[in-house]
Symmetry: C2
Subunit: 625 residues, 2 copies
């Protein structure tokens, strides 16, 4: 079909890494042009990658999309791509350095071309980057679609994506590696730490950091859980101890967040993302604006004035979020009124039915909140899209902020329902889609069996690709972090009235590791790896939560009847003491944050050495002139 290369069922002549699925009604002319650009040499402005069309497989009788393409690359091309991206690898002296082809032999794991120096996830990331930065030259529109305008420097793939000609682009799973990974990850009976390096190897740094954080967070809560259990079991009524527990909790939350920064810096250094310079970020597919010249790159691209965006954020989004906050506050008030009414009815004449009536307000409230959250989430996504952020990262930050402000509010009013809904969520997220996927899988195997005899249950590549193309797309770690954030809020905000929270969260997290791992391995398409160096805006979110926790805990302790007995003569004294303690705790928190360095000393030294050496090298280079 394309340059006469019709692929047989045994697969293409190279290792396929990434799949491009074009619309089934995409024009021949467009496809030929795109494939030409992808294959073309770099000096002609091409991506110099290998690409072949996926054969029809066994499903010829059904309606199927013929426009699925497999993309790969030669070993040399991948190495030069790794250098373009500035990937950091372990050098022969044990430090992490940006890979360069010129001294590739000095890198520790480089054993000759064609070895496992680059992980498959890295290769796929390189290919994604090369495809994303494949730019229009002198084309004024996409061949075959005169309405789809192009201009020199525009990313071709982004334009095709935003116009729906390119349906999706995803990396392929590796069946063998996945089997090994899932075994060491969650199928083993023996309790052990998660294989973070293997996860990073297969899914990339962003995913691995999420699972690292999940595990770290779980372990960090164990001391709190252990101390909390006796409070629950023996129903200690001595409030002094509750106060001690709450103060310990607050300090502990600050310390674990600070130590996480250090731990995550160690991980990111080992994985080479800590000091990697980020390549210039491409605009999001949905970004639009008037054509102009980017002040940084000098390339022609759409520009959108920052002031206009700020006006949208401050005059529309911000009032909207505040309005929603106010609404959810009103709903909460109505709930309290309803509960008060139900309680008064029950107190007047307690029967079985009034006993049930007591639960009704909570149930109604939970349902209303769930629906409101759903609507709010859509609205937040719509608004953030409309704000027209140029970068994906900035889009994500604004979305996270919007969602969080309202979730904190939920948290303050609906803590007890949280754990139950978490466990339901895990089921909905992981096992239901898996079951659906499995059914689809079986159908396909059955179909293939009809035609050929398969050894074992392994599918041939063509069928595998088509199956993966139908798997759900993993939408990033947003929802996973949001879950953790709510749980953290639950532990920190109400620690002094409900010391068992930490125990429940630890139990939840253990099942969460398994269900998330399962979900990643069996439910979703493989996501592209994301070379993150930290957990980004979530660190800030968790820290903000721990500040709010100081305020709520101090207020709760101050309001408790047990503490009030100490200040029977003067309520003023009580409040002043509470406020003083709160201020001291907050000051202590900030000093602690300031005193604990974010990056461990030994990594600081390694980074300083790299810096020093590059300055010295510059000096030497200079002396040659």
């Amino acid at each position: 079909m394309l340059q006469g290369s019709s692929v047989d069922n045994s697969g293409p002549s190279f290792t396929p890494l990434v799949v491009l699925e074009l619309a089934s009604d995409a024009k021949e002319e467009t496809i030929a042009w795109l494939m030409g650009r992808i294959k073309d040499q770099q000096q002609n402005g091409g991506a110099e990658l290998l690409v072949e069309q996926l054969g029809p497989g066994v499903s010829t009788q059904e309606k199927y999309n013929p426009n699925i393409f497999l993309v790969g690359a030669s070993w040399q091309r991948l190495l030069s791509g790794a250098e373009d991206l500035g990937l950091f690898k372990e050098f022969s002296d044990g430090s992490m350095r940006a890979f360069t082809c010129a001294n590739k032999l000095n890198f520790k794991e480089f054993k000759g071309d064609g070895d496992s120096f680059l992980s498959m996830a890295e290769c796929q990331y390189i290919i994604k980057h090369e495809l994303d930065t494949l730019r229009a030259k002198d084309e004024t529109h996409v061949p075959g679609y005169t309405q789809t305008k192009l201009y020199p420097g525009k990313s071709i793939v982004r334009r095709l994506q935003s116009k729906g000609i390119l349906i999706q682009m995803f990396p392929l799973h590796e069946k063998e590696a996945l089997k090994r990974l899932s075994f060491s990850w969650y199928k083993k009976v023996k309790l052990s730490l998660q294989p973070l390096d293997d996860i990073k190897h297969y899914y990339g740094e962003g995913q691995a950091l999420y699972f690292g954080f999940l595990e770290y967070f779980t372990f960090a809560l164990v001391p709190l859980a252990l101390i909390g259990v006796p409070y629950y079991l023996f129903d200690l009524d001595d409030y002094d101890r509750y106060v001690i527990y709450a103060v310990f909790n607050l300090v502990w939350c600050t310390v674990i967040l600070e130590l996480w920064k250090r731990f995550s810096a160690s991980l990111a250094y080992r994985w080479g993302t800590l000091s990697r310079k980020k390549a210039f970020e491409e605009p999001r597919p949905g970004f639009h604006g008037v054509l102009g010249f980017n002040p940084v790159t000098g390339r022609e691209e759409p520009l959108y004035p920052n002031t206009k965006r700020q006006l949208r954020v401050y005059l529309v989004s911000l009032p909207f979020v505040l309005l929603c906050l106010y609404l959810s506050f009103c709903v909460m008030m109505i709930y309290f009124l309803m509960e008060g009414w139900a309680l008064s009815v029950h107190d007047e004449e307690p029967t079985f039915w009034t006993g049930i009536l007591l639960f009704i307000p909570s149930i109604i409230y939970a349902v209303v909140i769930e629906i409101m959250n759903l609507i709010y989430r859509y609205a937040a996504e719509f608004l953030t899209e409309w704000e027209n952020h140029r970068l994906e990262s900035s889009y994500q930050n604004h979305l996270v902020l919007k969602v969080l402000v309202v979730s904190i509010n939920d948290l303050l009013s609906l803590a007890t329902l949280l754990i139950t809904s978490q466990i339901l969520n895990q089921f909905m997220e992981a096992f239901l889609p898996y079951w659906l996927q499995r059914r689809r899988n079986k159908k396909m195997i059955h179909k293939v069996r009809k035609i050929r005899t398969l050894e074992g249950k392994e599918l041939p590549l063509t069928e595998q690709v088509r199956l993966e193309a139908h798997m759900s797309t993993y939408l990033g770690t947003f929802d996973d972090y949001l879950e953790l954030f709510l749980l953290f809020g639950y532990v920190s905000l109400f620690s002094c009235v409900y010391p068992l929270a930490a125990v429940l969260v630890v139990l939840n997290n253990i099942t969460e590791v398994y269900s998330d791992a399962f979900k990643m391995c069996h439910v979703f398409k493989r996501p592209f790896s994301d070379p993150a160096a930290d957990i980004g805006v979530w660190q800030l979110a968790f820290e903000t939560m721990s500040v709010i926790a100081v305020v709520t805990n101090c207020a709760l302790i101050g309001m408790s009847p047990q503490v009030k007995t100490y200040f029977l003569d003067s309520e003023t004294q009580l409040i002043l003491w509470t406020v003083a303690v709160e201020h001291v705790l907050l000051a202590f928190k900030f000093i602690l944050t300031f005193v604990i360095p974010d990056v461990p000393k030994h990594i600081q030294i390694k980074l300083a050495r790299l810096e020093f050496e590059s300055l010295e090298a510059l000096k030497k280079k200079v002396k040659q002139y």
Copy 2:
């Protein structure tokens, strides 16, 4: 004397930049060795600078130090030094780039060798750097002093300084440039902004940032002063308006500190220090430890374990500072008791003498506090020295922290005396030493006149150098910033009870500009320039003060009788409202700090472009392999 070069009175054969004063009893052997090393070529490990001994001049009859040396450098050497230091200069396209000799012709102000491309302050800084990094080779001790050990890689100048063989090293003033600068700075009658670029040109970026901050701070307070005047003049008793004034003040303080960051980033970008990579910092002269290998440079140098330093900081210095805080709190309490007693005596039987008695406690308290501060300052310097910090910057930070903690306490108790003591201070700092210096000057001119007839009052170089060697040494901006910090505290902490504060501080600052400028030009030796990109730890100090100000202002407003009348029925309500307002203000403050970007957009773009271009250049370089 040294290689037979005896300099006549007409001065050396090159432009002298820096003066080295060795002890008058320094051994010939040592001097010869040091001068040899300074003159030696770079490939032999020398500094490749020019150096000549200062002639005896007219003061031969008196006892004088013959071991004064003038250091200069060839134009080529200065340019290569600028490249070593990574100085940023304006490129032909208007952006700031690190200077390299290879494409020197592409820099805007480069007009051929020997031009004014490098300011004299920059040349002096380059020479200081080259002297500081002149390292011992295989010498095991300083020739002539077998007790003064050396080891490969030890900075020779630092070792000679710490042993007292090198008394001082200072840059020379330029009489003509100084005259022009002082005219445009403070001698003009016409009111105008300070010539910050000229100040930077003559004194370097650190000084210029201080004067920039002083001026910015003065202008920023003008609105507050204007609003404050009517409150004072018409004795407005309407407390609502005081509250409005206080809230405005708090928000304003946050905003001006944030905007200063942006303004200082603009200045630092224009002066080329914003993105300059700092060269690896040498240990302080006083730093000691066991010889080992620096983990960053690999050079042999004294190492001192960080844990030991931390123990000293947390187990000795911290308790000492807390003890001093407690002591000054006790003194304050005694002062309150004394004042209460004086008031009761006066109330019982008011006479002229009891009226005077009312002032006695304040005067005693002021004197005691002044003495305690003096002792504390010495103790703080001693402790910080003892903590044995490796870097000058870390030493400075710890010292600033110690001094500030206690000054905030003074502020809280002794606000009204502040302004009077400030004006006294200005006199003591600037005009008294100037008068002494002038007397010395006149004596010298008189002596020179006796020997030759001088045209005008210009001194020959030899006498000029000797005079400057006797001028006081400027000890850095520490005390100047501390003054500003106390004034800022005065404005922000007590804004709601004393709205005239801003007016007084504005008036004080205007005279401060003049007295500081005068001091810099006529009292002190020229200081080495310091390529600072911001005001360092002081930014943090000012921000912390503005947080404390929120707390004190809310408390003061809450305690005021006028506000209490609104909450006659419930003191609890009053306190809760006060605390709520305080929390909202604090939250607003942090959000504001977060929302206002620290670097203006147009400079962010310029920095991103530089980053992008260097990445692109790397890519191109890579493709050549």
